[in-house]
């Protein structure tokens, strides 16, 4: 038993906070200007993808270390 699951959990925590921040900022922006939803959505998705990638890299490395 090594610390990989714990490390993965930690990574998930950080990434979840990041995703939440992006989501909340985008939501408040959309709520303030509903006509700009189309313009906000694309950058939001891109940012989400980049943050998510960090976790995927961690997952990738972590799962490889489990072996």
């Amino acid at each position: 038993m090594n610390g990989t699951p714990f490390a993965l959990g930690l990574a998930a925590l950080g990434v979840a906070i990041g995703l939440g921040l992006i989501g909340s900022a985008a939501m408040s922006g959309m709520a303030r200007q509903p006509e700009a939803i189309g313009k906000i959505q694309t950058p939001m998705l891109i940012a989400l993808a980049f943050v998510e990638l960090v976790f995927l890299l961690t997952l990738f490395l972590g799962l490889n270390m489990v072996k």
Partner: protein, 253 residues
């Protein structure tokens, strides 16, 4: 056909046995079987939709859906790349269809093309090299490489230019990695999560993993969207000097 499927599955099983429980995807023939199946489905749908084409409104279901998809992609391409983004639509549409149906395969089968890092790397390589190709066509070969070197610096700061050049090159390489790993991680991660949850409910014979289905379906769409979206963004970064310098300057800073 049955024989071929049998061949694919046996090869798949062989691959699974060879690499233990590793999620390695199918081997070459298995991958090709999946790919041919996906392309067959896509072409069948397109052929079905083609029957409904006319110069008035479309009434055939497949035609309507594909028109929606087409208009969505067109909107995305034109919105991100600009007016000249229209010529990249076939590329983006093909990528979208392959990735989306690959992801859908992942919902119902043990493996799928998009759950295979090699397949994703192939798609990412196509995307990135197409972007380079378009950049060279738009700015010329020299102009395209100058683009890597960042802004013009003078005096002692000239030392920075090669460093920026190298960093930019590495980031181009990383685009491949990020595109392919994102798709792979999402689809394969979905598989892994479903398996882990199935393991959880094994004693009670409850397939908890099946409850992940809606989430995975959403992932299918979102991943296809993000892959094509990023492709469009990369294209817009290299080709936006195409139409007017003022716009390019505005974007560069």
């Amino acid at each position: 056909m049955g024989d071929l499927l049998h061949l694919g599955t046996t090869l798949l099983a062989e691959g699974g046995a060879e690499h233990g429980a590793a999620h390695h995807g199918a081997n070459f023939v298995g991958l090709m079987v999946y790919l041919v199946a996906i392309i067959g489905v896509v072409v069948y749908l397109l052929a079905d939709a083609k029957k409904g084409l006319n110069n008035r409104y479309f009434t055939r279901w497949t035609t309507q859906r594909l028109e929606q998809l087409y208009l969505f992609v067109e909107n995305m391409a034109v919105g991100i790349i600009g007016a000249h983004g229209r010529k990249y639509i076939p590329m983006v549409m093909t990528l979208w269809l392959l990735i989306f149906f690959g992801n859908l395969t992942a919902l119902f089968f043990a493996t799928s093309p998009t759950a295979d890092l090699s397949f994703n790397l192939g798609l990412a390589l196509i995307a990135v090299f197409y972007v380079q190709w378009e950049g060279m066509r738009a700015n010329g070969v020299g102009g395209h490489f100058k683009h890597f070197a960042g802004p013009k610096l003078s005096g002692a700061l000239m030392i920075l230019t090669p460093m920026i050049f190298i960093i930019e090159l590495v980031s181009e390489m990383m685009k491949n990695l990020s595109l392919s790993l994102r798709l792979y991680g999402n689809i394969d991660g979905g598989h892994k999560a479903a398996e882990a949850m199935n393991e959880l409910g094994k004693s009670a014979y409850v397939p908890f993993g099946a409850f992940l289905m809606p989430l995975k379906l959403m992932t299918c769409v979102v991943q296809a969207l993000i892959f094509t979206l990023l492709f469009c963004v990369y294209l817009s970064l290299v080709t936006h000097a195409d139409h007017g310098d003022a716009h390019g300057e505005a974007h560069a800073h």
